[in-house]
Subunit: 413 residues, 2 copies
Amino acid sequence: MNLLHVDTISETRKKLAAYCERIAPAIEICGLIEAAGRVLAADCYSAENIPPYRRSTVDGYAVRSKDLGAAGDMTPSILRVTGEVVLGTDPGDVTVTAGNCVYVPTGGAVPDGADAVVMVEYCELFGGSMLAVSKSAAPGENVVQVGEDVRMGDLLVRRGRTLRPQDVGALAAAGISMVPVYTPWRVTVISTGDELVPPDEAPGPGQIRDINSYTVAARSAAEGFQVVRTVLVRDDREALLQALTAAKADSDVVVLSGGSSQGKKDMSAELVGLAADSGVLTHGIAAKPGKPTITGFDGESGTLFIGLPGHPAAALMVYEQVLIRLWRDLTEQPEERTVRARITTTLQSAAGRRTFQLVKLTDGEAGELPAAAPVLARSGMIAPMSAADGYFEMSENQEGVKAGDTVCVHLWK
Amino acid sequence: MNLLHVDTISETRKKLAAYCERIAPAIEICGLIEAAGRVLAADCYSAENIPPYRRSTVDGYAVRSKDLGAAGDMTPSILRVTGEVVLGTDPGDVTVTAGNCVYVPTGGAVPDGADAVVMVEYCELFGGSMLAVSKSAAPGENVVQVGEDVRMGDLLVRRGRTLRPQDVGALAAAGISMVPVYTPWRVTVISTGDELVPPDEAPGPGQIRDINSYTVAARSAAEGFQVVRTVLVRDDREALLQALTAAKADSDVVVLSGGSSQGKKDMSAELVGLAADSGVLTHGIAAKPGKPTITGFDGESGTLFIGLPGHPAAALMVYEQVLIRLWRDLTEQPEERTVRARITTTLQSAAGRRTFQLVKLTDGEAGELPAAAPVLARSGMIAPMSAADGYFEMSENQEGVKAGDTVCVHLWK
């Protein structure tokens, strides 16, 4: 058996990351709305206390809680209303002194002297400026203290976070309206194979439709990358080398898909070796699916090359494990959250190779982990990937899993 | 206590859905790459078998498995090579008869007569056209049968699915290059509040920065909606009514944010009642957070109005529960996947109101559900939402949860 030298997946990423400085994504500054959904490139701290003043969370009356004692429905406390806080204006000299209170709208500043706000629902005005309060108040009730939401100097959002709506909100609250985010990689996808026809053409005998340029482009877009182009090239040495070389001008990543057969693998490796001035860095990885994977780096243009297996499921999985995870490492994203589940069936892993197993999840009884049923697929099949909820990994040294074992499932996006 | 008539969240959605025909998202046809990440608007079936021919998953020799018997390293079987299948061409009259074999590359058609393919690694050519095979083969080995991946007539992808890369791949494989997807809603976000300043301005005394137009716009974009504009309007009756009315011309959804104080709530309701020819449909919902919520529908323009609470966390949660879930219902999306967890603390829910509790998840021992620790937040706070991993719901009739209970956590996107 012909044993190529193969790298593990983490070795593959490490080799590429050795060129880290040159493949590190660029950083750009943009407005908050544009930044939503992108990866933050710096830790963002608050230069302010939020709220900057003691803020009422309700429409009500700012009071000294001790003035209310044990006020209740049958035993209201009586206070005098001495003023009103108007939203969006300086409360100025308004203060609350013993036996008095001040009206405050939701979001308004609680005046000095007061330590709580009683909701209007528990208050009744009478005699012009007198107030009957039918409820006691604990100190701090309905008041957000200065800096209680965010304290000056607090870390608001950590670098590497893909900005969610609430993160954008936290930044907006602190007055951070422009943030640094990573510039997404620009990706060219080149599919090759004389047997391939575009999806809108009917394949002739022995032909199949090109799938990988669609799946890889869609996966790239889902990660926020910019897909520069997808091209379908015949198995022609010159045409392929030309496509690879041309893509260096405007792409950070060039994906070459196709070439699971030995002859094609050899040609893909040779061409990547010619296009990338580092030569071929990885020639095969210890993964199932995904063995026939090639990587290279061109220092002059700063372009990363990856040659994927031809089988669609393998191509997508390798793209995820090598390229997407490299991007996440370089942009300092936290580890992806996985869902624990119990595998329903005993499964063997591929000896010495990291094995990725598709699964479908089903919730069981309360208190129990969900059940992960393996979705079985043979090389070259695409439907099982679409039917699966996600996958789990078995490491290179692991013999497999036994029915009932806990596995960590990566959910498909 | 002033008890407004309030709807439950599902009553709110039902009232809006009663106008379903007129608020139903439009459908458009687009190419697969553009369709990735969007919601499929029709069930897609395969009109073909995939693969359309028996396909080899390896580089090897197509054989009759019974010809190999118990072939092994020490006892190879000897076959005659009678031909070769060329990728992308019709295998034509090539067949495999007793004692013979034919070379097939990965992805090539397995010729008639053969029932398995032996990998080249186990084969050695000698004497020009003779082959020593050092491994037996089971029938079907390394062969994907006609229709094994997808059978003609199979459902490929169900309507309501947000198209993932592998779904796009399955559609491409079946030759479906154009698909119907829902046209995203066009959203205008109007923030109102005299106390609000844009994030890039320093708030004066009693002022705070506008957060909701950012969070609601970001949440809209994350769901694929088109954000037409975000505007900040003073608490001025005429200016607000003008903004609401103008937005009907080019928006499917108009979000009015602000107005947690009683006076503002009343004005928001009045203005929505004027702008929407249905009048106000919902005036308050039984949710915590989120009570002061208003909805309306303008039949003439087909515009849906939603007035959100002013508190940022409440605004985002109501937007999620009412508007985003209505969109998902109308586009027939499956229920969102939740992650089961054990709540670490006993918590009370708000009586008669659906309560949304923020949590942070931590994985425990293998076999155990993750722990969900409540993230405590007061009204008007934004940082806890950014710190949380997601939330779980307590229903209107539920008194709360006890420490150790299983809860279903919706993870933030």
